[in-house]
């Protein structure tokens, strides 16, 4: 019996179903709390039977004014920092519910688009985001810089986006986004 709502600090005591899954990052408590203190309208969860079974953490921001003339300047936009659904509650459409809630909140704040970063190799997540209307806008080369497979080369990230109503000209969609490479240092 799902309830989708904004997160409160005391919900952090109920993250086990999600965060015990090793593929969900269990962040430092101040990470969750600082998002909650800064962008409470972009932190949603789904509650089922008194447990948090999924949550989305987001923020709205733009690149600093100093970068205004850079080709990589990002206008006011929403960003999905984390999205997770407890393994046994997947395939129930909860990711869609959460992303739609976040997108709606970003619409209210007049953002141009919502974006997220995902590992190139994480095909499961990429497929899921594509099914939610997100598409690859650019490829961030070596964004995940830890040692991959014994070599010191990092892994590329896909910057996936969904345009919001403000983006009337649909400037934040590219059919060939995977071919648009950008250096990790140029990404804000």
């Amino acid at each position: 019996m799902p309830v989708i709502r904004r997160v409160t600090p005391s919900d952090l005591y109920h993250l086990n179903l999600c965060n015990l899954d090793p593929y969900t990052e269990n962040y430092d408590i101040s990470f969750y709390l600082s998002y909650l203190m800064k962008w409470p309208s972009l932190f949603f969860c789904i509650e089922e039977n008194r447990a948090i079974v999924g949550y989305i953490i987001g923020k709205v921001e733009s690149s600093p004014p100093a970068l205004q003339n850079s080709p990589h300047y990002l206008p006011w936009h929403g960003h999905i920092t984390a999205l997770t659904i407890a393994p046994q509650y997947r395939r129930l459409g909860y990711a869609r519910l959460l992303t739609r809630a976040l997108e709606q909140a970003c619409e209210q704040q007049k953002a141009w688009f919502v974006d997220l970063f995902v590992r190139e190799s994480n095909t499961t997540a990429i497929k899921m985001y594509e099914s939610l209307g997100y598409s690859v806008f650019r490829r961030v080369v070596d964004y995940y810089s830890e040692d991959v497979g014994g070599s010191m080369k990092g892994e590329d990230a896909f910057d996936m986006r969904i345009p919001l109503a403000r983006d009337v000209k649909q400037e934040h969609i590219r059919a060939d986004g995977k071919d648009h490479k950008v250096d990790a240092n140029d990404v804000y």
């Binding site: 019996m1 799902p2 309830v3 989708i4 709502r5 409160t8 600090p9 005391s10 919900d11 952090l12 005591y13 109920h14 993250l15 086990n16 965060n19 015990l20 899954d21 090793p22 593929y23 269990n26 962040y27 430092d28 408590i29 101040s30 969750y32 709390l33 600082s34 909650l36 203190m37 800064k38 409470p40 309208s41 509650e47 089922e48 039977n49 008194r50 447990a51 948090i52 393994p87 046994q88 509650y89 997947r90 129930l92 459409g93 519910l97 709606q104 909140a105 209210q108 095909t123 499961t124």
Partner: protein, 1010 residues
Amino acid sequence: MASKFGVAGGIPERRVRPIWDAIDSRQFKNALKQVSSLLGKYPNSPYILSLKALVLERMGKPDEALAICSSAKELLHSNDSALMDDLTLSTLQIVFQRLGHPDLATSCYEHAAAKFPNNLDLMMGLFNCYVRESSFVKQQQTAIKMYKIASEERFLLWAVCSIQLQVLCGNGGEKLLLLAEGLLKKHVATHSLHEPEALMVYISLLEQQDKYGYALEILSGNFGSLLMVEVDKLRIQGRLLARTGDYKAAADVYEKILELCPDDWECLQHYLYCLLEDDPTQGIENKIDAIKLVDCRSSPLTDEVFDSRITRATTFVHKLQENLGNDIVRCPYLAGLEIERRKHLYGKGDEQKLMEDLIQYFFRFGHLACFTSDVEVFVQVLSSDRKVELFKKLMESSSTISQVPAKALGLSITVFKFQQLVGNMHGFTVDGLEDLAVKMVEMFCKNLPLSKDLDPQESMHGEELLSMACNVLIQLFWHTQYFGFILEAIMVLEFGLTIRRHVWQYKILLVHLYSHVGAISLAYEWYKSLEVKNILLETVSHNILPQMLGSPLWMDLNTLLRDYLKFMDDHFKESADLTFLAYRHRNYSKAIEFVQFKERLQNSNQYLLAGIESAILELKQNAGNIDEEERILENLKYGVHFVELSNEIGSKPLTFNEDLESRPWWTPTPEENYLLGPVGEISHIPKDNLMKKQEANARTLIEKKALLPRMIYLSIQSASLSFKDGVEVNGSVSNPIVSSEMKILLEHFAKILGYHLSDALGVLGEVCRDLKSTEVFGVDVINWVNFAVFSNAWKLNSNEFDSQERGAHKFGSWHDVDTLLKKCVLERLKFLSAPISLHVTDFQMLVRLITEPLSWHVLLIQSCVRTSVPSGKKKKKSGSVDPSVLTLSSVVHDSIQSLCGTFEEVMKWLRNQIRRLECKEENLEGILLSMRNEVQKGRPGGAFQILETMCSSGSKELGDRISGALKSWDSNHLVRKIVSGQRAVLSETLSICESKCRTLNTLKKQISQI
């Protein structure tokens, strides 16, 4: 003035930037060099001084850092021309905070703010200081000052929040809310409102005063447009309307919300409650910790009105169902069931209709993992016969619903779960349970090919089956007492983890099972693989911590406690800064919620207990060295704070943040383990009762344990004083004070055990003289024996023990303690027989006897010997020996002999057990062998053989990953690992005993010199 604040701390930015960069990149030596050279140019700059202090603190030189900080503070206070900007003060604040003197930072800000009363930066810094200290009144006063200076809405809201905090978390009366309301009203009249959060605070303030009508007025007025998300506004409106009693209007609003969000179960419940004019949500916020909205009072409506309202709800819910564009939204269908349930509660239920609806729901959603928990509340209203009938219908239809394998599997799992839900499990025979376990494991294996292409991060199809099979196997053990069923349950889970390493549900079950079979090191390994960190330390560690506290694996226990305490302490250090973040970002309600969150964490029972246990562990680890022990006690302030905690714990708020849902059915809380109790019906104990019991236990446990460090300290002193009079204790306390304080603590301790001091001593005396059995101690053996040891120490230095009391079987001699210690230890050894049925609590008790009361007793002996033996630093002044000291020495000598004998017995037993573990016929390997060779009805092995067959048959359909995993399965290796785990615990205990014996032998040599 302007110039003073125009430049950072009065120093050009370009000169300071490299220092900050060096600090940020942790190049502290470089930073120190630069800051020292800059200090040459600006020797009296408080900013540069505070920067230097910051660098020194980071380099681990707290004393130097504090000295420099203090001189910077002096400069600020004494020198009128000193620059007092926020940068300087905030740098000082960081250092003072890290050094544990936040009050000094506050006084710097107070001084600066008084000097420049119109400077907003400084005032904000001061406000922040009060936030850190949770000084809500001062926060309010400072915010009001800022509001007066700048007339900004945010500062007023800071003040209003500070007032709300005084009411919610402080001692402020509710009248203060009226003051806050007045402030807001006045502001609205002159400046209007501009932020959505400000409106939310205004409404919450009115709600707190039950002014719902007025709140509605505000929301419906112009300010309502501040809330840009329509649903947010509607939710508040619905809630307020319900609270004013305008249920009709509230129901209209909830219909609107449901049309926008058809999957919102909570809203649907509010809708029904409003329609039926029975709103149990009064005063309850939409929070996970709120009371579960399952049952409610019967509706006050007449039959006619009830019928018409139910008709309206039914029509609306049908409309919602028709409008659904997909097949995954469950809420409108659950709503249909809820309407039937509500009718039932009103006495107008139709069981047949409810059954039909449930079957329909099964057809639609039966394959989902959440089906059973979804329908639980509706099934509860059915009669037992109907439940069984429903189960049969679901079982019959499950095979016809879907031909898609994954869905068919999901439906079968649901049938198993439903069977448990309707209570058939407890009524099962051993044969029935056996069939069930075998079926579950078979089904898992048969469906493995479905998962062959899944990414390792995705759950396998049918993953739940193995946890369920494990639970059935444990139930079989519980009925039959065949230990093999536990081993079989372990095998099933280990098999699951061989195929997919990441199933945390299996791991938690294994943590408990391995703890139960005495292989705690394996339990700890699986626990470690869960990578529990951050907030999960608070919610998950109850799965291992209690078992580890009774184990001899001190290194691992130390890591557990240290990591947990570090997480908590670090968080408390930085958490206040997070609150300020909420104020700065104008998310006022979050500031309040956060303070409540922090209080909940601070009052955690685990946190309090871990602090005490950590101290006790250190004392246990060093009990062989009295000098080291005294150093530890000194660091613990001689246990004085713990005694205060023990005295206060009865009235202290205590929170329980442990997630108990993740625990196995047979150990629902850390205190309960049904596998240890007699086999019989497990009566269903409501969760709330378990929680109440847990809370009472936790309070008593903290109360008892917190007395230990001080009692140990006083016992050492008392033993020493008995050999030498006139020694000053703790720098100021003298001989009679030790005795009287010990008496107070012993009285307290006896009271916790349920006796007056004199009666408790009487009980001990009777047990020693075999007039009573140790059963009189109940589960509190360790505490009784601790009490005996400390009583003996008290007696050494007290003249309240007279011969008359001894004559009346009172407890009061070294000999009595030795007898009692030996008696309890030998009894434990008798309980502990074969290694495979290692009775985990008895073994834990043995370990605790050795490492607690026996160790404290050895410590007393060390204290006596150190004082009496003329060697080293503690040389006696005169050559002649007091005859009373001689008598005492002889008593101590006898005590050493007796303790050596006791330890010898334990070591003999341990060596024997270790030998038996090496013998396959006597350990778990023997059981595994019989499980593999032939399986008899009612005996373990059926499920295990399916696993073994699966591995040996191999299948191309499984894909490389699963096939590879199956090849690596080796049950022989696994069982050897378990045996090694059991052996490790025994060996560790043996080595503790050996070390105690070495200490005693040294003492024996020393005392013979007298």
